[in-house]
Subunit: 376 residues, 2 copies
């Protein structure tokens, strides 16, 4: 039995308490300052308002004001704050951390500096720790398809835990694994974390298609009920670009076509906030109007593209990337941030993921001459 604290009482952080509690661990769920109402509700009703399940009895809920008590004697900290909260989490956790005490993150995103250098969130968290802890606190992360409400309902879920330290990895996996929460392990932190960061963004892109179809049907420009071919092309282009960024940052392509990449993008396209945001944007709403209809919800895909797209532009400016790199990601930025209409620039899609892949495979690629014109 271990003592585990989960910081961040959103749906995903809270869902993680179920396998931990079912394994008999003592689990402390700690709300951030944004979670005061959620923690109050959990304490009053025994259930999280965002999850349709009663919390296990061995989960204790704490507001942020009781952080000291909540972290006392804790073996492992799971971090479920959103991507904007990593800096804050590093500062608030630092006084409580000791060397060798693992932190495992479900936070999704990437960080970028002014030159466009991208950094995975476990590395960002590490830089926010005091020098004495940097490198001595092992930081792990979770990727793969996991809708929080399904995990809390104890339905079959398969994820990947990633950490550079395989001993820590095995220890953490052993704490969390249950018959319904299956865990594979990978040392490819970059690959897993890039996939995790990009899936909401590309799910928003795939989600544009139902909106575009509804709009086209209203205008009577396109007959019929489905446009799955188009959605599938954007799904594939999302993975091609994910592979590109994974390889650019030094990760493994294997993460792209397994649970962290393809699996997580698939599940994220089955509905949820990012898909709904995509549909509203596809219908032609401005980013502000679309966000208004999803009031109060964090749209992680928008947060992600706001960080990553400017970094990509910087990398292009610096000559690190070719001028037409990441066409779908940049389109999504235009639509979801700048309010521009979506234009599928198919002539720039489906380029080989990287020169390395291209030369290894001997694959030729899409001559622009086969692309008559951009759609719509």
């Amino acid at each position: 039995m271990a003592r585990i604290a989960v910081l961040g009482a959103g749906v995903m952080g809270t869902a993680l308490t179920y396998p931990l509690a079912d394994n008999g661990h003592e689990v402390h769920l700690i709300g951030t300052h944004l979670d005061e109402e959620l923690i109050a509700a959990c304490r009053t009703t025994g259930a999280h308002p965002g999850l349709n399940s009663v919390l296990p009895p061995n989960v204790r809920c704490f507001p942020i004001g009781e952080l000291d008590e909540a972290l006392d004697g804790i073996d492992v900290i799971a971090l479920g704050v959103n991507s904007r909260g990593v800096h804050w989490a590093g500062q608030i956790l630092a006084p409580h951390l000791r060397p060798g005490q693992p932190v495992i993150m479900v936070t999704k995103g990437l960080a970028a500096d002014a030159d466009g250098a991208l950094c995975i969130l476990p590395d960002l968290l590490s830089t926010k720790l005091p020098p004495s802890l940097r490198g001595t606190v092992p930081i792990a992360a979770i990727g793969g398809p996991s809708i929080a409400a399904e995990l809390a309902a104890r339905r079959p879920t398969c994820v990947v835990f990633t950490c550079s330290d395989t001993v820590v990895l095995d220890y953490l996996a052993g704490l969390f694994v249950t018959d319904y929460y299956q865990i594979w392990t990978s040392t490819d932190m970059i690959g897993v974390e890039v996939c995790v960061a990009l899936k909401n963004l590309y799910a928003l892109g795939v989600g544009l298609v139902p909106g575009l179809l509804e709009k086209a049907n209203e205008d009577q420009r396109v007959p019929g009920a489905t446009m799955h071919n188009f959605a599938a092309a954007l799904f594939a282009q999302g993975l091609v670009e994910t592979a590109r960024l994974v390889q650019l940052l030094g990760g493994s392509i294997e993460s792209v076509f397994s649970l962290p990449g393809a699996g997580d993008l698939y599940v994220t396209c089955q509905g949820g906030r990012n898909s709904r945001m995509g549909r509203l944007l596809g219908l032609g709403l401005t980013p502000a109007a679309a966000a208004g209809q999803l009031a109060g919800e964090t749209i992680e895909g928008v947060d992600a593209v706001k960080v990553i797209a400017p970094a990509i532009e910087q990398l292009i400016r610096r000559g690190v990337l070719e001028p037409d790199a990441f066409p779908l990601l940049r389109q999504i930025y235009g639509v979801a941030v700048e309010g521009r209409p979506f234009e599928a620039s198919f002539d720039r899609f489906f380029q080989p993921a990287t020169m390395a892949v291209r030369s290894a495979a001997g694959v030729t690629s899409s001559p622009a001459s086969h692309v008559k014109q951009a759609l719509q």
Copy 2:
């Protein structure tokens, strides 16, 4: 303008006539002996019974009895027969083919010999041609997400044409490309064709999940409405196994995470015969009973697994593959052919795609110790 014959008047073969006709080519749609009623209907009504669209005016329909007339002066033959018809097509086309006349296939599947050696269908077709034509008739193929009815409705569709001869590839792509039918080209015939062959099979696997969920809900074992995490895990495992087979046969991994692999599997999971078959099997119907409910429809995923699973067993027996290779494919064979219940053998899932990928990536893999027990 070219003269192009499409042999096989199923929905996909027929849908291909739309971009060709829209480009002003003379198009001959030739039914096989299985398509007599379809061709009669096309001639009478001007529309294909399986597609909700009127045929373009420059498409002429021919029954198989008028093959000689239909193939007279033809520049390119597109082959839309099903996987069982390749041998027959080779024999019937041979007298009409001349060196340099391209054939492009939308037929999906793989062939296997008694030792388990697997072969892509363009190579199978080549062996069915007389020696004088073998190697002189360029054979190309089409992969990627393309629901026939959407193509016939001229909705945005992105596919990959593959051929070892890049001049032929560019010629063919130029004949077919329209603003709604976007074509990328690849010389990775093995990668594309393996993806094409496996997508129906794994879509059937993903389709099991809604059936399993309905069944579980009936038994009141699982609360709630969705089991997307489970479906996404099977989707990812399908791609991992696809990558394994692509690399085993010498194809490129890039085809797996782009249009032919991830894109086509995604679109095939959006409904259709293979998904419906999966759901019925997940509900617990026997293969015969499930097929009965889909009477008259070819379930390509079942056809594919009947060929590929025994070949995999042969390759394991011969030591070419490890004993626990392709666990999902073999599970699907058990469920869809042998009528066994589905058991997600998660302890064997998500192994690295190949040793080559593993060693290149430095990725550790799923220790079985993290897998408590197989689900259900």
